[in-house]
Amino acid sequence: MSVHYYLTLFPMEAMIASQLEPAAFGSYMAIGNRKGSAERLMFIEVFESELGDSFDLDYARRRCVAHSDGRMKNSVYLSVYRALEAVPVDAFGALWLITKDGRSMSLEQSSYTDLDTWDGSALYQELCPAHPLIVSALKPKHFAEYIVEDSTKVTMPAIFFADLTIPDFDGDSFTGNIGGYFDKMMEHLKYCVTELKDGKGKLTKVVDRSSFAAFNFQVIGRGLYIGTSGGRLVFYPMPSREELKKKHYDWAKSASIF
C-alpha cells in the first residue's frame, strides 16, 4: 500500500503521511471516522520524489502501515510547524479544499497571469504560516515577493495566501454568499481600503489579525497562491461560478457558495 504525503496549510500547518487517497484523507480530516469534528481544511498533495530530506520519510514508511484489522493508516504526523518552507516548489501537487462536511474539490496549478483589471487595491488573507487579513496596493505576484523578499523588514520564507473578493461597499445589501467573514469588520475594511487608495505610498495595511479561523471558501476571489523565496509563485486558480455549478456543484453547495 503506497504512502501519500500531504501538506496541510489550513487550519494548521503540518506534514502528514497517510495511506488514504486525497479525497478520503480530506474527508477523514474534516469529519473523522465518526461524527465528532467538523472543520474546513486545505492541503496540498506532495510528491515524495521531490521532497528531499527535509522530512523523515523512513519513519513515515515504517509507521504508515495498515492496522492489524486491515484498516488503512489515516495519518502519521511528520512535522507540525515550519513545514511549508521545507517543501520544495516542485513537490507541490494539487491543492485540495475540504468543506466542513467532508466534500472535496481539488485545484490544479496554473501559470500565473496578471489581473485583467486593477483598481488599486486587493484583499489578501494570509493563511500560512501567519494569518493576518491584509489590504494591499500590490498585485498577487508582487505581494508574494514583498512578503518573502529579504529586503523587506518583516519577511517569511514562504507564504500561502488567498486573494478575496472585496464586498461592494457602495451597493445595497447585496454581498453574494460571503458568509460571516466580514460581518464585524465591514466599516473597518472600508476605511482600510480607502486609506490605502489615498496614495500615501503605503503598500499594505493589516485589516484584522484574528478572523483567520472564520475564513471560508466563499470569499476566495481569483485563487490561492504560494510564494517562496527566490520569487517563485505557485498559483491555484479558483473555478468560476459557472464551472463550479457544472463540475463541482456538491462541493460548492456544501461550501455555501450556492
Binding site: A38, T175, I178, G179, Q218, K245, D250
Partner: protein
C-alpha cells in the same frame, strides 16, 4: 340547471384522470431517482394508511352518535363528507408522490423552466380538480338523494321537525351540516397530523443535519431527509387538499343552511318567501360553485396545453386570473338564469337579482386583496420582510422581534378588508350575501389548489434532484419553482382564512336561528346579546381557545422534533460512515418517529374542536356557546393571519439572505434568519392552517347540537 353541476363534476374528475395519466406516462428518471421517490411514496402511503385507520375509528363513533341523536341522513352525509375529503387527500398524495420524480426528470431532460413547470402544475391540477370535483360530487349526492328524492328541500319540509329525542331542527340543514362535518373532521386530522409530521421532520433535518453537521438541504446523508420529503406530501399536499375541500364545502353549506333557516323564519313571521325563490337560494351556491369549477377547468387547461414561458409566477397568475374572471362572467349568467323571474326584494336583495352575485364578487375581490396583502407581508420584494432580513444583521433576537412585529401588523389590513366586505355583502343581500362572499372567494378553488399543490411537488422534485445528484442546473430549476410555490402557498392560506371568516359568520347566524328553534316567530330578532354574562363568558373562553389549541399543536411539533433531533444525532454518532457516504442512514427510523409523533399528538387538538362546544353547551347552554363561537372566530382569524404571515415572512427573510444579501449563506445574518424560519415553521404550516378548520368544526358541531343542549343543559337543570 342541476345538469350544470353534474357536467362540472364529470368534467373536473375526468380532466383530473387525464392529467394523472399524462403525468404517469412521463419518465420517472434513472434508477436512483426511482429508488428515492419509492422511499418517499412508501413513507407517505404508510403514514396516510395509519392516519386514516385512526380517523376511521373516530369517524365511525361520530357517525353513530349523529345517527342516534340527530338522524341517519345526517350520519350518512357525514360518512360521505369524510370519504370525499379523505379521497381528495389520498388522490393528492398519490399524484404528488408520482409527479415529484417526473418533475425532477423533466427538469433534467428538458433543462427548461417552462416545461418543468407544466409537469409540476399538471400534477398539482389533479389535486385541485379532485378537490373541486369531490366536494361538489358529494354535495350533489346529498342534494339529489336527501334533498330532492327524499324531499328534504321541498318547501313543506323546510320547517323545524322534532325527532324522537325531542330535538328540533330542519332536516336538510342537519344533513348538509353532517356532510360538512365529515369533511371538516378529515381536514382537521390531515392538517394537524400532516402538520406535525412535516414540521417534526423538517426541524429535525435542519437542526442537526444543516446546523450541526453542516450538510446542505436534502443531502442524502441526512437521516431525516426522506422523512422531510414525505412530510411535504402528507402535510402540504394531503393536508392542504382536505383543508381547502373543507373550506369550500363549509362556504357552500353555510349559504344553504342559512337559506333554509331564512325560509323557515319567514314562514313563522307570517311573511313566507316564494318557494321558487327559496329553492333558487338553496341551489345558487351549488350552481355558482359549478360555474367556478368549469371556469377553473378552463384556467387549468390553458396552462396545460400552452407552451409555458420561463416565468412561473406569471404563468400561475394567468391561470388564477383566467379562472376568477370566467367565474365572474359565468356566475353572472347563472345568477340571471336562476333569479330572472323572481321577486327578490322579499329576501333583502337590495339591488335586484344580481345582489348575491355582487356579494360573491366582493368575496372574490376581498380574497384576492387578502392574498395580495399576504404577499406584501411575506414576500422579500416588499418592506416588511426586508426589514426582518435587515434586522438579522443585528442578531437572532431582533430577527424574532421584527418578525413578530410584521406578523402582528399583518393582521390589521386583511381584517379591515373582511370587515368592509362583510358590510358590503350584507348591504347587498343580507347575511345570505355574506355567505355568498365565502362561496365566491372559493368558487375557483380547483384553480387555486392546483397552483398551491404545484409548490410541494416542486419542493419534492428539488429534494429528489439533490439526493440523486443531478446537475446544478437541474437543481436551480426545481429550486426556482419551489420558491414561487412559497408565495402561492401564502396567498392560498389567505383565501382559506378569509373564507373561514365569512362562512363562520353565516354559520353563526344559522346557529342563532337554530337556537331560536320552535320559538321563532314574528318578534324573532337575529341578535346576540354580548353584555349577557353567559355570552360574554363564552366569548372570553372562546377567545382563549385558539391559543390553547395552538399551544398544544406547537408543543406536539416540538415533542416530535426533539425525538427526531435525538435520532439524527444518534445515527451520526453510532453509524460510522454516514457522512463519508460509505453507510446509508436509517431513513425508516426517522419516518417512524415522525409518524408516531403525528399519530399520537393529532388526536387532542381535533377532539378539542369537537368536544368544546358540546361540553360547554351541556354545561352552560346555548348563550355561552354563542359567545364561545364569536370569541373563537375572532381570536382564531387574528391568530391564523398572524401565524401564516409571520411564518411566511421569516421563511422569505431567510431566502432573501440566502440569495446573497447581508453576507448570504454562512453569515451571522443567515444563522439568525434560519432560527427565525425554524420558529415560524410550525406557526405557518401547522397552527395557521388548522385554525380555520377549528372555527368551522366548532360552528358546525354547535349548529348540529344547539337544539340538544338548548333543551338539556346544567344551567337549565339548576334553574339558573
Amino acid at each position: 340547471m342541476i345538469s350544470l353541476v353534474i357536467i362540472a363534476v364529470i368534467a373536473a374528475l375526468s380532466f383530473a384522470v387525464i392529467n394523472y395519466s399524462v403525468v404517469k406516462k412521463k419518465s420517472p428518471g434513472n434508477e436512483l431517482m426511482q429508488e428515492i421517490a419509492g422511499s418517499i411514496k412508501e413513507g407517505a402511503d404508510a403514514f396516510l394508511n395509519l392516519e386514516y385507520k385512526v380517523i376511521a375509528r373516530i369517524a365511525v363513533l361520530i357517525a353513530i352518535l349523529l345517527a342516534v341523536v340527530v338522524s341517519w341522513q345526517s350520519a350518512t352525509a357525514f360518512i360521505l363528507g369524510a370519504s370525499m375529503s379523505a379521497a381528495a387527500g389520498l388522490v393528492g398524495m398519490r399524484i404528488a408522490t408520482l409527479a415529484n420524480v417526473r418533475v425532477s426528470n423533466e427538469a433534467d431532460v428538458s433543462r427548461s423552466l417552462g416545461s418543468t413547470l407544466k409537469v409540476a402544475f399538471q400534477g398539482g391540477s389533479v389535486m385541485g380538480l379532485s378537490v373541486g370535483g369531490f366536494a361538489l360530487f358529494g354535495l350533489l349526492l346529498v342534494y339529489v338523494v336527501f334533498g330532492k328524492l327524499m324531499g328534504e328541500v321541498n318547501p313543506d319540509q323546510l320547517v323545524i321537525h322534532t325527532n324522537w329525542l325531542g330535538i328540533n331542527d330542519i332536516p336538510f340543514t342537519m344533513t348538509v351540516s353532517g356532510y360538512a362535518l365529515g369533511c371538516s373532521i378529515i381536514a382537521m386530522f390531515n392538517r394537524v397530523g400532516g402538520g406535525i409530521y412535516t414540521k417534526a421532520a423538517d426541524m429535525g433535518a435542519d437542526l442537526v443535519g444543516k446546523t450541526e453537521a453542516g450538510i446542505p438541504e436534502d443531502d442524502p446523508r441526512n437521516p431525516a431527509t426522506i422523512a422531510d420529503n414525505v412530510g411535504d406530501n402528507v402535510g402540504d399536499v394531503a393536508g392542504l387538499g382536505s383543508d381547502l375541500l373543507e373550506s369550500f364545502v363549509g362556504s357552500l353549506i353555510s349559504a344553504i343552511v342559512l337559506s333554509s333557516y331564512m325560509a323557515y323564519t319567514a314562514i313563522k313571521s307570517g311573511n313566507p318567501i316564494n318557494s321558487e325563490l327559496i329553492s333558487a337560494m338553496i341551489q345558487f351556491p351549488l350552481f355558482f360553485a359549478a360555474a367556478g369549477l368549469l371556469s377553473s377547468i378552463v384556467g387549468v387547461f390553458l396552462l396545460v396545453v400552452k407552451k409555458a414561458s420561463d416565468k412561473p409566477h406569471r404563468e400561475l397568475n394567468v391561470t388564477t386570473w383566467v379562472s376568477a374572471s370566467l367565474t365572474l362572467v359565468s356566475g353572472a349568467l347563472v345568477t340571471w338564469i336562476l333569479f330572472k323571474d323572481l321577486d327578490v326584494s322579499t329576501v333583502g336583495f337590495t339591488i335586484g337579482i344580481f345582489s348575491p352575485w355582487l356579494a360573491a364578487v366582493l368575496g372574490i375581490i376581498s380574497g384576492i386583496m387578502i392574498g395580495q396583502l399576504a404577499e406584501y407581508y411575506t414576500s422579500y420584494h416588499f418592506k416588511p420582510t426586508l426589514k426582518i432580513s435587515a434586522s438579522s444583521k443585528e442578531g437572532t433576537a431582533l430577527t424574532i422581534t421584527q418578525g413578530l412585529s410584521v406578523g402582528m401588523n399583518s393582521v390589521f389590513l386583511p381584517v379591515v378588508v373582511l370587515a368592509i366586505a362583510t358590510i358590503g355583502a350584507n348591504a347587498l343581500a343580507g347575511l345570505y350575501g355574506v355567505a355568498m362572499a365565502a362561496v365566491g372567494m372559493l368558487s375557483f378553488v380547483a384553480a387555486t389548489v392546483s397552483v398551491d399543490t404545484y409548490g410541494p411537488i416542486a419542493d419534492n422534485a428539488g429534494g429528489i434532484s439533490e439526493m440523486a445528484k443531478l446537475d446544478g442546473e437541474v437543481r436551480e430549476i426545481t429550486d426556482e419553482l419551489d420558491s414561487v410555490g412559497n408565495t402561492t402557498a401564502a396567498i392560498g392560506k389567505g383565501f382559506a382564512i378569509g373564507s373561514a371568516a365569512f362562512a363562520a359568520l353565516s354559520l353563526f347566524a344559522s346557529y342563532l336561528y337554530a337556537q331560536g328553534g320552535l320559538n321563532i316567530g314574528k318578534d324573532f330578532k337575529l341578535v346576540l346579546n354580548m353584555i349577557d354574562t353567559m355570552t360574554l363568558a363564552g366569548a372570553l373562553v372562546g377567545g382563549a381557545l385558539p391559543w390553547l389549541f395552538s399551544g398544544i399543536l406547537i408543543e406536539a411539533v416540538a415533542k416530535a422534533a426533539r425525538a427526531m433531533v435525538q435520532e439524527v444525532r444518534r445515527q451520526f454518532r453510532e453509524i460510522p460512515g454516514i457522512l463519508t457516504g460509505e453507510s446509508k442512514p436509517d431513513y425508516k427510523q426517522c419516518i417512524s418517529i415522525s409518524s408516531a409523533g403525528a399519530l399520537k399528538e393529532m388526536q387532542y387538538p381535533a377532539l378539542i374542536s369537537v368536544l368544546m362546544p358540546l361540553i360547554t353547551g351541556f354545561l352552560f347552554g346555548p348563550r355561552f356557546v354563542g359567545g364561545l363561537l364569536i370569541g373563537t372566530t375572532l381570536s382564531a382569524i387574528m391568530l391564523a393571519l398572524f401565524t401564516a404571515n409571520a411564518g411566511g415572512a421569516w421563511d422569505n427573510a431567510k431566502k432573501y439572505v440566502e440569495s446573497g444579501r447581508h453576507g448570504g449563506k454562512g453569515s451571522e445574518a443567515h444563522t439568525s434568519t434560519v432560527v427565525g424560519d425554524t420558529v415560524g415553521d410550525p406557526l405557518k404550516d401547522t397552527v395557521g392552517p388548522s385554525l380555520d378548520i377549528l372555527i368551522k368544526i366548532m360552528a358546525t358541531v354547535s349548529l348540529i347540537a344547539v337544539s340538544i343542549f338548548s333543551k338539556y343543559n346544567l344551567i337549565k337543570l339548576l334553574g339558573l
